[in-house]
């Protein structure tokens, strides 16, 4: 029965990652003064899932560590202990250590140092601390003594209870007392758990993976039967006797109700007890036969009475949980390559469709009415299909934002600043490719704002601002772009200081520069106005890297700032990585795409404006400036239709602060094109960054403007790029 678990490791690690992220965000979201139960349960569940998974796959270190956190959380959940900042810190640290452990296990690397052990000790110490004497929500004192609990579950044939028994094997304290001999039998599975209520919870939790929750009943066994058993989550209720006497409903004090069963009385033989069980159970489930009348059992009657009184409420309370479970399984993991393949095929479909539409337009509309109607229909469906497929690649930006609450908390703590983080527009969707590439630049901007933007509390108070600074991350769509703003209400950029620093570094600055131009200076490499270098930022590396990263994604970054009021950095990104705004140009018989982001203007040169320089290369005079001129036909060895400059067109390109004029035959138009990789089946081609498929199904190459500009530079040094390449 040995199964190689290692094949599931990756799944576990992925899940653990998700659970850890969830745990982290929930803990950070906690308002310590008013902790709501949903969040508590969510946190507990996350910890519990990690522990369960880790134990199953034999990562004992992770399981042990999580176990302690879980114990703490469980106490909190049950109101035995209040959540403290100290605990939050410990939990966050645990999350870090767990992440490190998971990474180490994943890489099959040796485990990181003893951080885990120290943390475990700290957690154990916390666990041992006497829980609060005044429980938070007045539940009965915990039954913390060891006793024997019974779990009864009805197993219908469809449940894989072998799987369940295997799960149970993880719990040494659980013992199967009896089980149905054949599937479909009405005999319940009876399990005894010898231990604390927490142990019982674990077993029940585990069973819930396999069985519907409402088919599981728990109770104490033996002399302890009359003692109220405290548990508010897993269908474990005060004894019915008590409820009836007090005239209250059995579940009124509980947060949810999965069953209304009292503890099973000490059973001299098992049979009557299970009979009672069947009866109660039968009320909710259509499957089992009619209740077996067992009048001799008072508990059964009482339970029945309670049931009939409570049935509607039971249904109402149970329903949300089912929904929650349905929501959990409503997404699937799919490899990116599958999505990309889908995108390709849809792109192809669009081309075929436009070809059909073209053919159709030549037909007689009367004679071919139905065919033409079909083509129109096809067009509509294709467009919708394309949109849906594109949307698969889109993820909400919360995937990036989610790391910031933690980051801000940590950094603000280290800098002794008070900062409130506001996240707006977390559901704005953007391409998956951006999500990965955005996190570094955004992290840098956030760190900058925290370090240089927001002032220390006393400074803020002195300036008449609230002590707590506000950092706002906002994302939204505007005009075919995604805009992400990182704003703070801190000190703002200091124009004088930036100018002074610029002069010091020998940059061409003047006092008449506009604010925009001055702010742009901070993107210069090595530029930092921070008085002191901290471990957070101020080394002057970074802003230039941020700008480069954003530009590499086809976006741009702007700064707005006002001294004493705050600074806002605005990133603008195209909607998706896979699509590019381009200008198509013709040279000879060929079509090329120039990314629009690099084009500053297009103009028709006058013959007089073109000058040769020292026998090599030519320059074009544009409003008094001389710009190197490259003829695309020359660079790519194409036979052009136009060689006289004044009959063609020049496109002025700008990248990395350099400008060139690119001579082409003609401009064809502006398109949004889907970027295809040339290297997936071929190789890197100099001067070409990729390819795309045009509306007629032909391939057009996308020009790599920076590399063309460096060609122009090479041209200045010697032979023309065309010749150079031929020689090579």
């Amino acid at each position: 029965m040995s199964v190689d678990l290692s094949q599931f490791f990756d799944v576990f690690f992925d899940e653990a990652e998700e659970h850890l992220a969830n745990l982290e965000s929930q803990v950070l979201g906690l308002d310590l003064t008013a902790v709501d139960t949903d969040t508590q349960n969510e946190i507990f569940r996350a910890a519990h899932s990690i522990k369960g998974g880790a134990a199953t796959f034999g990562f004992k270190d992770m399981a042990d560590l999580t176990h302690n956190v879980e114990t703490l959380l469980d106490d909190v959940r049950k109101g035995r202990r209040a959540m403290t900042t100290e605990m939050v810190d410990a939990i966050l640290q645990t999350v870090d250590v767990l992440k490190a452990m998971a990474a180490a296990h994943r890489a099959r690397a040796p485990l990181p140092d003893s951080a885990g052990r120290a943390l475990t000790e700290r957690l154990v110490a916390m666990v041992k601390q006497a829980p609060d004497t005044a429980p938070l929500h007045g539940s009965a004192p915990a039954a913390s003594i060891n006793q024997i609990y019974r779990i009864e579950a009805l197993i219908s044939g469809e449940h894989d209870w072998h799987d369940m028994l295997m799960r149970l094997a993880d719990f040494p304290k659980a013992r199967v007392v009896s089980y149905p001999l054949e599937s479909g039998s009405s005999e319940p599975l009876i399990i005894e758990v010898d231990g604390l209520p927490a142990d019982l919870d674990l077993v029940v939790d585990c069973l819930c993976f396999v069985l519907p929750r409402d088919s599981i009943r728990t109770g104490t066994s033996g002399a302890a039967a009359a003692q109220p058993v405290e548990d508010d989550t897993f269908g474990f209720f005060d004894p019915i006797v008590e409820a009836l006497v007090s005239g209250e409903t059995a579940s009124s004090g509980d947060e949810d109700g999965f069953g209304f069963f009292g503890p099973i009385p000490t059973a001299p033989s098992q049979k009557p007890a299970s009979g009672a069980a069947d009866e109660c159970f039968g009320f909710f489930d259509a499957e089992p036969p009619l209740p077996q009348p067992t009048p001799a059992q008072p508990v059964a009657n009482m339970a029945e009475a309670a049931n009939s009184a409570e049935a509607p409420q039971h249904v109402a309370v149970a329903a949300p949980h089912r929904e929650a479970r349905a929501a959990e399984s409503s997404s699937i993991r799919v490899g990116v390559e599958k999505v990309d393949q889908l995108l390709n095929l849809v792109g192809e479909l669009v081309i075929t469709q436009s070809m059909l539409a073209q053919c159709g337009s030549a037909l007689d509309p009367v004679a071919n009415e139905r065919l033409l109607a079909g083509i129109v229909q096809l067009e509509r469906n294709t467009r919708e299909l394309q949109e849906s497929v594109m949307s698969i690649r889109m993820l909400p930006i919360s995937a990036v934002f989610s790391r910031f609450p933690r980051l801000v908390r940590d950094i603000a703590g280290r800098l002794a600043k008070k900062v409130e983080l506001k996240l707006i527009g977390e559901h704005t969707e953007l391409d998956k490719g951006f999500i990965e590439k955005l996190s570094d630049p955004l992290t840098h901007l956030v760190r900058n704002s925290l370090d240089h933007g927001i002032e220390l509390p006393e400074v803020r108070a002195g300036r008449g601002k609230p002590e707590t600074g506000t950092l706002t991350l906002r994302a939204f769509h505007r005009g075919g772009n995604i805009v992400i703003e990182v704003g703070d209400d801190g000190g703002g950029l200091n124009r004088e200081r930036i100018l002074a620093k610029g002069r010091e570094r020998g940059l061409p600055v003047s006092d008449t520069m506009t604010d925009q131009e001055v702010w742009a200076l901070i993107f210069e490499p090595g530029f930092s106005t921070a008085a002191t270098i901290t471990d957070v930022s101020g080394r002057g590396v970074g802003m230039d890297v941020v700008r480069r990263n954003i530009q590499a994604m086809g976006g741009r970054i702007d700064i707005e700032s006002m001294l004493g009021i705050g600074t806002t950095m605005t990133l603008r990104l195209p909607l998706t990585l896979a699509i590019l705004d381009g200008m198509s140009v013709a040279v000879g018989d060929e079509t090329f795409i120039i990314p629009l982001a690099f084009i500053t203007e297009s103009l028709q040169p006058q013959a007089l404006d073109v000058k040769g320089v020292a026998g090599h290369g030519r320059v074009l005079k544009v409003r008094g400036d001389y710009v190197p001129l490259i003829a695309l036909y020359d660079a790519f060895n194409i036979v052009p239709k136009v060689t006289e400059l004044h009959r063609g067109l020049c496109v002025l390109l700008e990248a990395d602060g350099e400008r060139v004029a690119l001579f082409v035959d003609d401009l064809l138009g502006q398109h949004q094109v889907v970027i295809k990789n040339l290297e997936s089946n071929y190789r890197k081609v100099p001067g070409v960054s990729g390819a795309t498929i045009m509306g007629d199904g032909r391939v057009a190459l996308i020009l790599d403007v920076p590399s063309i500009i460096s060609m122009a530079r090479a041209q200045g040094h010697g032979s023309k790029p065309g010749e150079e390449r031929e020689a090579a």
Binding site: E348, L678, N681, Y682, R683, V688, A691, V699, G722, E726
Partner: protein, 162 residues
Amino acid sequence: MNETFKAQEQAARENLVFTLGNEEYGIDILKVQEIRGYDAVTRIANAPVFMKGVINLRGAIVPIVDLRIKFGLGEPTYNEFTVVIILNVARRVVGIVVDGVSDVINLLPAQIRAAPEFGSLVNTEYVIALGTIEERMIILIDIEKLMTSQEIALFDQAATTI
């Protein structure tokens, strides 16, 4: 020993036979994705002459190599009878232009002869064996080795080391 084994292994599978000039070549049919006509290609600047360019194959950008030019078979023409074999080699998709595709054959071990040291358009380095069917001689070549070779320069070298 290894060569013989390899020859028999390929022979045991089906081979797609195509013609280049007067010679017939066999390639492992499992490397063939499809056979199609010659479409308009988009030329790649500054590439070798036998590298015709790239085509759009259902959304994938696929390079096309004209083996006729590569092996110097006179003036190649491109018309409706020009055949392109789309290959799946080294986890990439590439197309080759040949004179024609004749048939698919199964060779018995008895029909296999060791590769000679000379005599075909294709460098003997890529020839696995010779197959004989009646009067025909089929040169079995390792198309994957040929297409990933430096000679064809289809891929960046870093990418071809698998």
